[in-house]
Protein backbone atom coordinates (compact mmCIF):
# COMPACT_ATOMS: atom_id res chain seq x y z
CA UNK A 1 0.00 0.00 0.00
CA UNK A 2 2.71 2.38 1.05
CA UNK A 3 4.63 1.35 -1.99
CA UNK A 4 1.88 1.98 -4.51
CA UNK A 5 1.26 5.36 -2.96
CA UNK A 6 4.79 6.54 -3.46
CA UNK A 7 4.57 5.12 -6.89
CA UNK A 8 1.49 7.14 -7.69
CA UNK A 9 3.12 10.25 -6.31
CA UNK A 10 6.15 9.54 -8.38
CA UNK A 11 4.04 9.25 -11.49
CA UNK A 12 2.17 12.47 -10.84
CA UNK A 13 5.44 14.28 -10.26
CA UNK A 14 7.03 12.66 -13.25
CA UNK A 15 4.35 14.01 -15.54
CA UNK A 16 2.34 12.44 -18.24
CA UNK A 17 4.58 13.16 -21.19
CA UNK A 18 7.61 11.67 -19.47
CA UNK A 19 5.60 8.58 -18.61
CA UNK A 20 4.46 8.24 -22.18
CA UNK A 21 8.07 8.64 -23.27
CA UNK A 22 9.21 5.83 -20.99
CA UNK A 23 6.46 3.54 -22.18
CA UNK A 24 7.48 4.23 -25.72
CA UNK A 25 11.08 3.53 -24.83
CA UNK A 26 10.13 0.25 -23.18
CA UNK A 27 8.04 -0.78 -26.16
CA UNK A 28 10.86 0.03 -28.51
CA UNK A 29 13.33 -1.95 -26.42
CA UNK A 30 10.96 -4.89 -26.27
CA UNK A 31 10.65 -4.69 -29.98
CA UNK A 32 14.39 -4.83 -30.39
CA UNK A 33 14.57 -7.70 -27.96
CA UNK A 34 11.88 -9.60 -29.77
CA UNK A 35 13.89 -9.40 -32.95
CA UNK A 36 17.23 -10.06 -31.43
CA UNK A 37 18.94 -10.96 -34.69
CA UNK A 38 17.52 -8.10 -36.71
CA UNK A 39 20.25 -5.87 -37.99
CA UNK A 40 18.33 -3.88 -40.57
CA UNK A 41 14.67 -2.99 -40.21
CA UNK A 42 12.57 -0.86 -42.50
CA UNK A 43 9.10 0.31 -41.54
CA UNK A 44 6.94 1.63 -44.38
CA UNK A 45 9.79 3.38 -46.07
CA UNK A 46 9.18 5.54 -49.14
CA UNK A 47 11.57 7.60 -51.16
CA UNK A 48 10.45 10.41 -53.41
CA UNK A 49 12.57 12.13 -56.03
CA UNK A 50 10.63 15.23 -56.93
CA UNK A 51 7.23 13.85 -57.85
CA UNK A 52 8.52 10.36 -58.57
CA UNK A 53 8.32 7.57 -56.00
CA UNK A 54 11.46 5.43 -56.22
CA UNK A 55 10.50 3.34 -53.20
CA UNK A 56 6.96 2.71 -52.07
CA UNK A 57 6.06 1.62 -48.58
CA UNK A 58 8.90 -0.85 -48.09
CA UNK A 59 8.95 -2.89 -44.88
CA UNK A 60 11.79 -5.27 -44.36
CA UNK A 61 13.46 -7.18 -41.57
CA UNK A 62 16.96 -8.45 -42.21
CA UNK A 63 18.62 -10.71 -39.68
CA UNK A 64 22.20 -10.67 -38.63
CA UNK A 65 24.31 -12.86 -40.92
CA UNK A 66 21.74 -13.08 -43.70
CA UNK A 67 22.70 -13.14 -47.34
CA UNK A 68 20.25 -10.89 -49.14
CA UNK A 69 19.93 -10.62 -52.84
CA UNK A 70 17.97 -7.65 -54.14
CA UNK A 71 16.89 -8.23 -57.69
CA UNK A 72 14.72 -6.45 -60.15
CA UNK A 73 14.89 -4.62 -63.44
CA UNK A 74 16.85 -1.50 -64.01
CA UNK A 75 15.16 1.51 -62.43
CA UNK A 76 13.32 -0.68 -59.92
CA UNK A 77 14.81 1.17 -56.95
CA UNK A 78 17.55 -1.25 -55.88
CA UNK A 79 20.29 1.38 -55.66
CA UNK A 80 17.95 3.76 -53.90
CA UNK A 81 17.18 1.09 -51.33
CA UNK A 82 20.88 0.65 -50.57
CA UNK A 83 21.47 4.42 -50.57
CA UNK A 84 18.90 5.09 -47.89
CA UNK A 85 20.59 2.49 -45.71
CA UNK A 86 23.97 4.21 -45.70
CA UNK A 87 22.30 7.62 -45.80
CA UNK A 88 23.49 8.72 -49.22
CA UNK A 89 19.81 9.54 -49.53
CA UNK A 90 17.28 10.25 -46.82
CA UNK A 91 14.03 8.29 -46.74
CA UNK A 92 11.05 10.52 -47.42
CA UNK A 93 8.79 8.52 -45.15
CA UNK A 94 9.05 5.63 -42.72
CA UNK A 95 11.60 4.52 -40.17
CA UNK A 96 14.88 2.67 -40.60
CA UNK A 97 16.74 0.95 -37.81
CA UNK A 98 20.30 -0.22 -38.33
CA UNK A 99 21.55 -2.29 -35.42
CA UNK A 100 19.00 -0.51 -33.22
CA UNK A 101 20.00 2.97 -34.40
CA UNK A 102 17.24 5.09 -35.85
CA UNK A 103 18.62 6.62 -39.03
CA UNK A 104 16.28 9.61 -38.78
CA UNK A 105 18.05 10.62 -35.58
CA UNK A 106 21.60 10.40 -36.87
CA UNK A 107 23.25 13.82 -36.96
CA UNK A 108 25.70 14.68 -39.71
CA UNK A 109 28.55 14.45 -37.19
CA UNK A 110 27.53 10.86 -36.35
CA UNK A 111 27.13 9.86 -39.99
CA UNK A 112 30.77 8.71 -40.45
CA UNK A 113 30.35 6.31 -37.55
CA UNK A 114 27.26 4.80 -39.18
CA UNK A 115 29.18 4.43 -42.43
CA UNK A 116 31.93 2.48 -40.67
CA UNK A 117 29.40 -0.26 -39.95
CA UNK A 118 29.06 -0.78 -43.69
CA UNK A 119 31.44 -2.03 -46.30
CA UNK A 120 30.45 -0.74 -49.70
CA UNK A 121 31.09 -2.17 -53.16
CA UNK A 122 30.06 -0.52 -56.43
CA UNK A 123 29.83 -1.41 -60.06
CA UNK A 124 32.37 1.31 -60.92
CA UNK A 125 34.59 0.26 -57.96
CA UNK A 126 35.01 3.84 -56.72
CA UNK A 127 38.73 3.55 -56.10
CA UNK A 128 40.84 6.70 -55.87
CA UNK A 129 42.81 6.67 -59.14
CA UNK A 130 45.78 8.65 -57.84
CA UNK A 131 46.30 6.41 -54.81
CA UNK A 132 47.91 2.99 -54.80
CA UNK A 133 46.05 -0.22 -54.06
CA UNK A 134 47.54 -0.21 -50.60
CA UNK A 135 46.54 3.41 -49.92
CA UNK A 136 43.00 2.87 -51.16
CA UNK A 137 42.47 0.04 -48.71
CA UNK A 138 44.37 1.71 -45.87
CA UNK A 139 42.18 4.81 -46.15
CA UNK A 140 39.32 3.06 -44.31
CA UNK A 141 41.48 2.33 -41.28
CA UNK A 142 43.19 5.72 -41.36
CA UNK A 143 39.79 7.39 -41.37
CA UNK A 144 38.84 5.27 -38.38
CA UNK A 145 41.98 6.47 -36.60
CA UNK A 146 43.73 3.09 -36.34
CA UNK A 147 47.42 2.83 -35.46
CA UNK A 148 49.84 2.81 -38.44
CA UNK A 149 51.41 -0.49 -37.39
CA UNK A 150 48.01 -2.16 -37.20
CA UNK A 151 46.97 -0.64 -40.52
CA UNK A 152 50.04 -1.98 -42.32
CA UNK A 153 49.50 -5.50 -41.00
CA UNK A 154 45.78 -5.59 -41.59
CA UNK A 155 45.83 -4.11 -45.09
CA UNK A 156 48.47 -6.52 -46.35
CA UNK A 157 46.63 -9.43 -44.78
CA UNK A 158 43.29 -8.50 -46.36
CA UNK A 159 44.86 -7.89 -49.75
CA UNK A 160 46.39 -11.34 -49.50
CA UNK A 161 42.98 -12.94 -48.98
CA UNK A 162 41.69 -11.19 -52.10
CA UNK A 163 44.79 -12.17 -54.06
CA UNK A 164 46.08 -8.65 -54.59
CA UNK A 165 49.14 -8.73 -52.33
CA UNK A 166 51.49 -8.52 -55.31
CA UNK A 167 50.00 -5.25 -56.54
CA UNK A 168 50.17 -3.14 -53.40
CA UNK A 169 51.88 -0.27 -55.18
CA UNK A 170 49.86 -0.37 -58.39
CA UNK A 171 47.50 2.45 -59.26
CA UNK A 172 43.87 1.37 -59.90
CA UNK A 173 43.73 2.55 -63.54
CA UNK A 174 46.55 0.13 -64.39
CA UNK A 175 44.50 -2.83 -63.13
CA UNK A 176 41.87 -4.92 -64.88
CA UNK A 177 38.24 -4.62 -63.83
CA UNK A 178 38.35 -7.89 -61.92
CA UNK A 179 41.47 -6.79 -60.06
CA UNK A 180 39.94 -3.43 -59.22
CA UNK A 181 36.89 -5.16 -57.81
CA UNK A 182 39.12 -7.36 -55.65
CA UNK A 183 40.71 -4.22 -54.26
CA UNK A 184 37.24 -2.77 -53.69
CA UNK A 185 36.21 -5.94 -51.83
CA UNK A 186 39.37 -5.70 -49.72
CA UNK A 187 38.51 -2.10 -48.91
CA UNK A 188 34.95 -3.08 -48.03
CA UNK A 189 35.99 -5.77 -45.56
CA UNK A 190 39.19 -4.30 -44.09
CA UNK A 191 37.34 -2.42 -41.35
CA UNK A 192 35.49 -5.64 -40.43
CA UNK A 193 32.03 -4.12 -40.88
CA UNK A 194 28.98 -6.12 -39.87
CA UNK A 195 27.16 -5.28 -43.10
CA UNK A 196 28.32 -5.33 -46.72
CA UNK A 197 26.31 -3.40 -49.29
CA UNK A 198 27.14 -4.21 -52.89
CA UNK A 199 25.45 -2.35 -55.74
CA UNK A 200 25.80 -4.25 -59.02
CA UNK A 201 29.24 -5.54 -57.92
CA UNK A 202 29.52 -7.85 -60.89
CA UNK A 203 27.91 -5.56 -63.41
CA UNK A 204 31.04 -4.61 -65.29
CA UNK A 205 32.96 -7.86 -64.86
CA UNK A 206 33.38 -10.95 -66.99
CA UNK A 207 31.80 -14.09 -65.54
CA UNK A 208 34.94 -15.52 -63.93
CA UNK A 209 35.80 -12.21 -62.24
CA UNK A 210 32.19 -11.91 -61.16
CA UNK A 211 32.39 -15.39 -59.66
CA UNK A 212 35.59 -14.48 -57.81
CA UNK A 213 33.95 -11.38 -56.37
CA UNK A 214 30.96 -13.38 -55.19
CA UNK A 215 33.24 -16.06 -53.72
CA UNK A 216 35.09 -13.39 -51.74
CA UNK A 217 31.82 -12.01 -50.44
CA UNK A 218 30.61 -15.47 -49.47
CA UNK A 219 33.90 -16.05 -47.71
CA UNK A 220 33.31 -12.92 -45.68
CA UNK A 221 29.67 -13.94 -45.12
CA UNK A 222 30.86 -17.14 -43.45
CA UNK A 223 32.52 -15.02 -40.78
CA UNK A 224 29.10 -13.77 -39.75
CA UNK A 225 28.63 -10.65 -41.82
CA UNK A 226 25.31 -9.58 -43.30
CA UNK A 227 25.53 -9.18 -47.06
CA UNK A 228 23.19 -7.23 -49.34
CA UNK A 229 23.78 -7.50 -53.06
CA UNK A 230 21.69 -5.51 -55.50
CA UNK A 231 21.76 -6.69 -59.08
CA UNK A 232 19.50 -6.85 -62.09
CA UNK A 233 21.28 -10.02 -63.17
CA UNK A 234 19.96 -13.05 -61.31
CA UNK A 235 21.56 -15.91 -63.25
CA UNK A 236 24.98 -15.86 -61.69
CA UNK A 237 23.70 -15.74 -58.17
CA UNK A 238 20.78 -18.12 -58.33
CA UNK A 239 23.00 -21.06 -59.02
CA UNK A 240 25.29 -20.85 -56.02
CA UNK A 241 23.97 -18.65 -53.29
CA UNK A 242 21.94 -19.60 -50.31
CA UNK A 243 20.00 -16.70 -49.02
CA UNK A 244 16.97 -14.58 -49.48
CA UNK A 245 16.03 -13.05 -52.77
CA UNK A 246 14.02 -9.88 -52.52
CA UNK A 247 12.60 -8.98 -55.85
CA UNK A 248 11.57 -5.40 -56.35
CA UNK A 249 10.13 -3.53 -59.24
CA UNK A 250 8.57 -0.10 -59.46
CA UNK A 251 9.86 0.62 -55.98
CA UNK A 252 7.84 -2.15 -54.36
CA UNK A 253 8.71 -5.58 -53.03
CA UNK A 254 7.13 -8.03 -55.44
CA UNK A 255 8.31 -11.30 -54.06
CA UNK A 256 10.58 -12.71 -51.39
CA UNK A 257 12.05 -16.14 -51.85
CA UNK A 258 14.53 -18.18 -49.90
CA UNK A 259 17.13 -19.86 -52.05
CA UNK A 260 18.54 -23.08 -50.82
Amino acid sequence: MQHSLTHARYISKFGFSQLWGSINYLLKNMNVKNNKNSIIRLFNVSKRFGGKLALKDISLDIGQGEFIFISGPSGAGKSTLLKILYLAEKASEGQILIDGMNLARISSSKLPFLRRRFGMIFQDFKLIPARTVYENVALVLEAAGEKPSFIRKKVVQVLRTTGMEKKLKALPPTLSGGEQQRVAVARAVVGEPSIILADEPTGSLDSSSAQTTLDLLMEYHKKGATILIASHNLHLVESNIRGRNIEISDGMIQRTATML
Binding site: Y86, A88, S109, P112, F113, L114, R115, R116, F118, M120, K126, L127, I128, P129, A130, R131, L139, V140, E142, A143, A144, P148, R187, G191
Partner: protein
Amino acid sequence: MIHFVKKALADIRSNRFLNFITIITISLSILIVSVFLLFFENTSRMIESWNQGGRVMIYLKNDFTLDMLPDLKKKINAMGETEVMIYIPKSYALERLKKTMSSQSTFLKTLKDNPLPDAMDIRMKSNNSFEKIQKFAQSIKAIEIVEDVEYGQSWLGRFLKIFNLFKITGYAMCSLFFLIALFITANTVRLAFYSRQLEVEIMRLVGATETFIKAPFYVEGLLQGFFGGIIGLATLLISYLMIAPGVTQNIASYIYFDIRFLSVQMILLIIFGSTFLGWFGCYLSLKQLLK
Protein backbone atom coordinates in the same frame (compact mmCIF):
# COMPACT_ATOMS: atom_id res chain seq x y z
CA MET B 1 49.42 14.63 -38.31
CA ILE B 2 52.44 13.29 -40.21
CA HIS B 3 49.93 11.42 -42.30
CA PHE B 4 48.22 14.68 -43.26
CA VAL B 5 51.50 16.46 -44.02
CA LYS B 6 52.55 13.57 -46.25
CA LYS B 7 49.22 13.61 -47.98
CA ALA B 8 49.37 17.38 -48.47
CA LEU B 9 52.89 17.17 -49.90
CA ALA B 10 51.76 14.43 -52.27
CA ASP B 11 48.84 16.59 -53.33
CA ILE B 12 51.10 19.58 -53.90
CA ARG B 13 53.35 17.39 -56.00
CA SER B 14 50.48 15.94 -58.02
CA ASN B 15 49.10 19.42 -58.59
CA ARG B 16 52.42 21.11 -59.22
CA PHE B 17 51.41 23.84 -61.62
CA LEU B 18 48.48 25.13 -59.59
CA ASN B 19 50.47 25.09 -56.39
CA PHE B 20 53.40 26.77 -58.07
CA ILE B 21 51.15 29.62 -59.24
CA THR B 22 49.64 29.98 -55.80
CA ILE B 23 52.96 30.03 -53.99
CA ILE B 24 54.31 32.58 -56.48
CA THR B 25 51.24 34.77 -55.99
CA ILE B 26 51.55 34.61 -52.25
CA SER B 27 55.27 35.32 -52.36
CA LEU B 28 54.74 38.30 -54.70
CA SER B 29 52.15 39.73 -52.34
CA ILE B 30 54.42 39.15 -49.39
CA LEU B 31 57.28 40.74 -51.31
CA ILE B 32 55.27 43.89 -52.03
CA VAL B 33 53.98 44.12 -48.48
CA SER B 34 57.43 43.62 -47.02
CA VAL B 35 58.99 46.20 -49.37
CA PHE B 36 56.54 48.70 -47.92
CA LEU B 37 57.33 47.57 -44.41
CA LEU B 38 61.06 47.82 -45.06
CA PHE B 39 60.61 51.32 -46.41
CA PHE B 40 58.47 52.41 -43.47
CA GLU B 41 60.71 50.89 -40.85
CA ASN B 42 63.71 52.70 -42.27
CA THR B 43 61.97 56.01 -42.93
CA SER B 44 60.54 56.06 -39.43
CA ARG B 45 63.98 55.43 -38.03
CA MET B 46 65.42 58.20 -40.23
CA ILE B 47 62.82 60.69 -38.98
CA GLU B 48 63.56 59.67 -35.41
CA SER B 49 67.24 60.29 -35.96
CA TRP B 50 66.58 63.77 -37.38
CA ASN B 51 64.64 64.61 -34.31
CA GLN B 52 67.35 63.47 -32.05
CA GLY B 53 67.75 65.56 -28.94
CA GLY B 54 64.43 67.28 -29.45
CA ARG B 55 65.79 70.79 -29.80
CA VAL B 56 63.28 73.64 -29.42
CA MET B 57 64.04 77.34 -29.85
CA ILE B 58 61.71 79.87 -28.23
CA TYR B 59 61.64 83.51 -29.34
CA LEU B 60 60.18 85.95 -26.87
CA LYS B 61 58.17 89.08 -27.46
CA ASN B 62 59.78 92.50 -27.41
CA ASP B 63 58.24 93.50 -24.11
CA PHE B 64 59.94 90.67 -22.30
CA THR B 65 61.93 91.72 -19.28
CA LEU B 66 64.38 89.73 -17.24
CA ASP B 67 62.13 89.64 -14.17
CA MET B 68 59.65 87.56 -16.19
CA LEU B 69 62.27 84.84 -16.67
CA PRO B 70 61.73 82.77 -13.48
CA ASP B 71 58.00 82.65 -14.11
CA LEU B 72 58.52 81.54 -17.72
CA LYS B 73 61.04 78.90 -16.70
CA LYS B 74 58.60 77.60 -14.13
CA LYS B 75 55.85 77.33 -16.70
CA ILE B 76 58.05 75.46 -19.17
CA ASN B 77 59.46 73.14 -16.53
CA ALA B 78 55.95 72.29 -15.43
CA MET B 79 55.40 70.64 -18.81
CA GLY B 80 57.95 68.07 -17.69
CA GLU B 81 59.72 67.61 -21.00
CA THR B 82 62.72 69.85 -20.50
CA GLU B 83 66.17 68.56 -19.83
CA VAL B 84 68.32 71.68 -20.40
CA MET B 85 67.06 75.25 -20.74
CA ILE B 86 69.33 78.15 -21.61
CA TYR B 87 68.25 81.75 -21.72
CA ILE B 88 69.87 83.67 -24.60
CA PRO B 89 69.56 87.44 -24.18
CA LYS B 90 69.23 89.35 -27.41
CA SER B 91 72.46 91.23 -26.72
CA TYR B 92 74.37 87.95 -26.60
CA ALA B 93 72.69 86.76 -29.76
CA LEU B 94 73.75 89.94 -31.54
CA GLU B 95 77.34 89.52 -30.34
CA ARG B 96 77.39 86.02 -31.74
CA LEU B 97 75.90 87.20 -35.00
CA LYS B 98 78.55 89.89 -35.28
CA LYS B 99 81.25 87.32 -34.77
CA THR B 100 79.96 84.92 -37.34
CA MET B 101 79.33 87.67 -39.87
CA SER B 102 82.48 89.69 -39.26
CA SER B 103 82.82 90.73 -42.90
CA GLN B 104 79.42 92.38 -42.87
CA SER B 105 79.91 93.78 -39.38
CA THR B 106 79.98 97.32 -40.69
CA PHE B 107 76.36 96.87 -41.66
CA LEU B 108 75.51 95.49 -38.24
CA LYS B 109 77.35 98.38 -36.56
CA THR B 110 75.03 100.87 -38.24
CA LEU B 111 72.07 99.31 -36.41
CA LYS B 112 70.81 101.56 -33.62
CA ASP B 113 68.49 99.00 -31.98
CA ASN B 114 69.05 95.30 -31.57
CA PRO B 115 66.53 93.71 -34.00
CA LEU B 116 66.93 90.24 -32.48
CA PRO B 117 64.52 88.81 -29.90
CA ASP B 118 65.40 87.28 -26.57
CA ALA B 119 65.43 83.52 -26.86
CA MET B 120 65.37 80.27 -24.91
CA ASP B 121 67.21 77.20 -26.13
CA ILE B 122 65.58 74.03 -24.85
CA ARG B 123 66.77 70.49 -25.12
CA MET B 124 64.03 67.97 -24.43
CA LYS B 125 64.29 64.85 -22.35
CA SER B 126 65.14 61.58 -24.15
CA ASN B 127 64.40 60.84 -27.79
CA ASN B 128 60.99 62.13 -28.49
CA SER B 129 58.82 61.43 -31.45
CA PHE B 130 58.18 64.29 -33.80
CA GLU B 131 54.55 64.41 -32.74
CA LYS B 132 55.52 64.83 -29.10
CA ILE B 133 57.90 67.68 -29.86
CA GLN B 134 55.24 69.31 -31.94
CA LYS B 135 52.78 69.11 -29.08
CA PHE B 136 55.34 70.47 -26.64
CA ALA B 137 56.10 73.38 -28.95
CA GLN B 138 52.43 74.17 -29.36
CA SER B 139 51.83 74.36 -25.64
CA ILE B 140 54.83 76.68 -25.27
CA LYS B 141 53.51 78.88 -28.04
CA ALA B 142 50.34 79.27 -26.01
CA ILE B 143 52.31 81.16 -23.32
CA GLU B 144 51.58 84.85 -23.73
CA ILE B 145 55.11 86.21 -23.72
CA VAL B 146 56.27 83.75 -26.39
CA GLU B 147 56.42 85.18 -29.88
CA ASP B 148 57.43 82.11 -31.85
CA VAL B 149 58.68 78.57 -31.45
CA GLU B 150 61.01 76.82 -33.81
CA TYR B 151 61.65 73.12 -33.67
CA GLY B 152 63.34 70.59 -35.88
CA GLN B 153 63.62 71.35 -39.53
CA SER B 154 60.69 73.38 -40.66
CA TRP B 155 60.10 71.08 -43.64
CA LEU B 156 59.98 68.05 -41.40
CA GLY B 157 56.36 68.69 -40.56
CA ARG B 158 55.40 68.86 -44.18
CA PHE B 159 57.48 65.80 -44.94
CA LEU B 160 55.74 63.97 -42.14
CA LYS B 161 52.37 64.77 -43.63
CA ILE B 162 53.44 63.34 -46.98
CA PHE B 163 54.98 60.38 -45.23
CA ASN B 164 51.74 59.67 -43.39
CA LEU B 165 49.82 59.88 -46.62
CA PHE B 166 52.27 57.46 -48.10
CA LYS B 167 51.83 55.21 -45.13
CA ILE B 168 48.05 55.11 -45.60
CA THR B 169 48.52 54.34 -49.28
CA GLY B 170 50.96 51.63 -48.25
CA TYR B 171 48.48 50.08 -45.85
CA ALA B 172 45.79 50.17 -48.52
CA MET B 173 48.15 48.50 -51.01
CA CYS B 174 49.12 45.88 -48.44
CA SER B 175 45.49 45.08 -47.72
CA LEU B 176 44.77 44.91 -51.42
CA PHE B 177 47.58 42.45 -52.04
CA PHE B 178 46.58 40.48 -48.98
CA LEU B 179 43.09 40.18 -50.43
CA ILE B 180 44.43 39.17 -53.83
CA ALA B 181 46.62 36.49 -52.27
CA LEU B 182 43.69 35.35 -50.17
CA PHE B 183 41.48 35.12 -53.20
CA ILE B 184 44.08 33.15 -55.17
CA THR B 185 44.69 30.77 -52.28
CA ALA B 186 40.98 30.20 -51.75
CA ASN B 187 40.64 29.57 -55.44
CA THR B 188 43.48 27.04 -55.49
CA VAL B 189 41.89 25.15 -52.66
CA ARG B 190 38.61 25.23 -54.53
CA LEU B 191 40.22 23.84 -57.68
CA ALA B 192 42.11 21.23 -55.66
CA PHE B 193 38.82 20.31 -54.08
CA TYR B 194 37.09 19.91 -57.42
CA SER B 195 39.93 17.82 -58.78
CA ARG B 196 39.56 15.57 -55.75
CA GLN B 197 35.81 15.42 -55.58
CA LEU B 198 35.75 11.68 -56.23
CA GLU B 199 38.29 11.20 -53.49
CA VAL B 200 36.24 13.28 -51.05
CA GLU B 201 33.10 11.34 -51.97
CA ILE B 202 34.90 8.03 -51.42
CA MET B 203 36.33 9.21 -48.11
CA ARG B 204 32.83 10.07 -46.95
CA LEU B 205 31.56 6.65 -48.02
CA VAL B 206 34.19 4.81 -46.03
CA GLY B 207 33.33 6.76 -42.89
CA ALA B 208 35.88 9.55 -42.82
CA THR B 209 34.90 12.49 -40.65
CA GLU B 210 34.78 15.99 -42.14
CA THR B 211 37.84 16.89 -40.09
CA PHE B 212 39.76 13.99 -41.60
CA ILE B 213 38.69 15.07 -45.09
CA LYS B 214 39.51 18.74 -44.55
CA ALA B 215 42.83 18.34 -42.78
CA PRO B 216 44.98 17.74 -45.91
CA PHE B 217 43.50 20.85 -47.53
CA TYR B 218 44.37 22.91 -44.48
CA VAL B 219 47.89 21.54 -44.32
CA GLU B 220 48.24 22.34 -48.00
CA GLY B 221 47.02 25.91 -47.43
CA LEU B 222 49.36 26.36 -44.47
CA LEU B 223 52.32 25.03 -46.44
CA GLN B 224 51.53 27.26 -49.41
CA GLY B 225 51.30 30.29 -47.14
CA PHE B 226 54.46 29.40 -45.28
CA PHE B 227 56.58 28.75 -48.37
CA GLY B 228 55.08 31.77 -50.13
CA GLY B 229 56.16 33.92 -47.19
CA ILE B 230 59.65 32.43 -47.09
CA ILE B 231 60.16 32.89 -50.84
CA GLY B 232 58.84 36.46 -50.75
CA LEU B 233 61.12 37.41 -47.89
CA ALA B 234 64.10 35.64 -49.44
CA THR B 235 63.56 37.62 -52.65
CA LEU B 236 63.44 40.83 -50.62
CA LEU B 237 66.61 39.89 -48.74
CA ILE B 238 68.51 39.16 -51.94
CA SER B 239 67.38 42.44 -53.53
CA TYR B 240 68.24 44.25 -50.32
CA LEU B 241 71.74 42.80 -50.22
CA MET B 242 72.30 43.91 -53.81
CA ILE B 243 70.76 47.40 -53.60
CA ALA B 244 71.24 48.59 -50.02
CA PRO B 245 75.04 49.29 -50.07
CA GLY B 246 74.63 51.63 -53.07
CA VAL B 247 71.69 53.49 -51.55
CA THR B 248 73.43 53.86 -48.20
CA GLN B 249 76.47 55.35 -49.90
CA ASN B 250 74.33 57.83 -51.82
CA ILE B 251 72.42 58.95 -48.75
CA ALA B 252 75.59 59.00 -46.65
CA SER B 253 76.90 61.97 -48.60
CA TYR B 254 74.02 64.03 -47.18
CA ILE B 255 73.42 62.52 -43.79
CA TYR B 256 74.75 59.65 -41.80
CA PHE B 257 72.21 56.92 -42.20
CA ASP B 258 72.22 53.16 -42.71
CA ILE B 259 69.37 51.15 -44.18
CA ARG B 260 68.56 48.11 -42.13
CA PHE B 261 66.71 44.92 -43.11
CA LEU B 262 63.44 44.06 -41.39
CA SER B 263 63.69 43.22 -37.71
CA VAL B 264 63.46 39.61 -36.62
CA GLN B 265 60.06 40.25 -35.06
CA MET B 266 58.85 41.73 -38.32
CA ILE B 267 60.16 38.75 -40.32
CA LEU B 268 58.41 36.32 -37.98
CA LEU B 269 55.26 38.40 -38.15
CA ILE B 270 55.32 38.35 -41.96
CA ILE B 271 55.83 34.57 -42.09
CA PHE B 272 53.10 34.08 -39.54
CA GLY B 273 50.87 36.41 -41.55
CA SER B 274 51.39 34.59 -44.81
CA THR B 275 50.87 31.19 -43.16
CA PHE B 276 47.67 32.53 -41.68
CA LEU B 277 46.73 33.75 -45.14
CA GLY B 278 47.10 30.23 -46.51
CA TRP B 279 44.99 28.85 -43.71
CA PHE B 280 42.33 31.53 -44.04
CA GLY B 281 42.04 31.10 -47.81
CA CYS B 282 41.49 27.41 -47.21
CA TYR B 283 38.98 28.09 -44.47
CA LEU B 284 36.97 30.43 -46.69
CA SER B 285 36.70 28.07 -49.61
CA LEU B 286 36.07 24.92 -47.57
CA LYS B 287 33.40 26.72 -45.59
CA GLN B 288 31.70 27.39 -48.87
CA LEU B 289 32.26 23.90 -50.32
CA LEU B 290 31.63 21.65 -47.32
CA LYS B 291 28.95 23.02 -45.14
